[in-house]
């Protein structure tokens, strides 16, 4: 139960961050792809810079979790076609709706209910990928 409360709290922080930093804003995503503002690049760049420090510190110093266990960070499957083709498909949807999979939930919570349509079709898209997976190049 304690852990569930922790995950929920982390989600709240994430949701607040997506709204307050405007990373969930369609206008900000549009502006980013127009290269007219540093804002989104600053967010992603600073998050990744600190993320590299955090992740590499965990690995190098074998840091332990809040619960005293070793922290395991899985590697991504060593593929080229799947991340490239899948990435392009996602990018098309990202620039169209302005939403990533995380902000979809955040925006629904914020009262932008048309994102429910995006969520339902995102689930459907994931389902179709699962069905077609054996036939797609990876």
């Amino acid at each position: 139960m304690k852990r569930v409360a922790l995950y929920f709290s982390i989600g709240i922080l994430f949701g607040i961050t997506m709204i307050k930093s405007e990373a969930a804003s369609w206008f900000r995503i549009y502006e980013m792809f127009q290269f007219k503002s540093f804002h989104m690049y600053g967010i992603i760049g600073s998050a990744v810079t600190l993320g590299v420090l955090i992740t590499q510190s965990i690995k190098r110093f074998k840091l332990r979790s809040f619960f005293g266990e070793p922290i395991e960070i899985p590697s991504k499957a060593k593929l080229v076609k799947a991340p490239l083709f899948g990435g392009i498909v996602f990018g098309l949807g990202w620039a169209l709706t302005g939403a990533c999979p995380g902000p979809i939930y955040v925006l629904i919570g914020a009262g932008y209910f048309p994102l429910l349509v995006v969520l339902v079709f995102a689930i459907l898209g994931t389902y179709c990928y699962g069905v077609l997976k054996p036939r797609l190049p990876h």
Partner: protein
């Protein structure tokens, strides 16, 4: 600077995302929101017919709790932490969007044309939202992650596939933004 009611600059927003990554890693979890879509398919029973959804989805319920928290945080921030309005959008972008009939840049958080609840009664808007959602769901699972799983978690772990995915995100995003969206709006 009032961090409670004013929009956050990038140098607050980016580090806040890194804190989310830090907390999830130290909670023995990984930051990646798109896998929830797969979990939802598996929960609905898609694993009976499709091998891709036949896995121990119950091990990933924690991430649905994060998503529920994200929605709660979104509700809280939008209703109680947004009294100072939104940040400025570059004037060129405002002018360009206005000329395409998309209003509200720099004034509203989202364009009302697509995201106000009236938009749900417009068939064209519904079709675009559905198309966008489908591309997001299909693409993120094909790529093996989204902005959180690849761009934040994966790049932080120096994963080459994540760099390839992020390049893909931008190829797709730039194509849509510059060459397709002007015809769709």
């Amino acid at each position: 600077m009032d961090l409670f009611s004013a929009p956050w600059p990038w140098y607050i927003g980016g580090p806040a995302i890194a804190v989310v990554l830090f907390l999830l890693l130290f909670a023995e979890k990984n930051f990646g929101m798109s896998s929830n879509l797969r979990t939802l398919c598996a929960m609905a029973g898609a694993g009976k017919k499709t091998a891709f959804f036949n896995y121990e989805w119950k091990n990933y319920r924690w991430n649905l709790v994060v998503a529920l928290g994200a929605a709660t945080g979104g509700f809280f921030a939008a209703n109680y932490m947004s009294s100072d309005g939104v940040g400025a959008i570059h004037q060129d972008v405002v002018v360009q969007l206005n000329s395409m009939g998309v209003e509200g840049a720099g004034e509203d958080f989202m364009p009302n044309a697509f995201f106000s609840n009236d938009a749900l009664s417009n068939p064209k808007t519904l079709a675009l939202l559905a198309l966008g959602g489908f591309l997001i769901g299909f693409g993120t699972r094909y790529a093996g992650g989204c902005t959180s799983g690849h761009a934040i978690s994966g790049l932080s772990n120096l994963q080459l596939p994540s760099l390839i995915a992020v390049i893909g995100f931008f190829i797709g995003g730039l194509l849509m933004n510059h060459f397709i969206l002007p015809y769709l709006l």
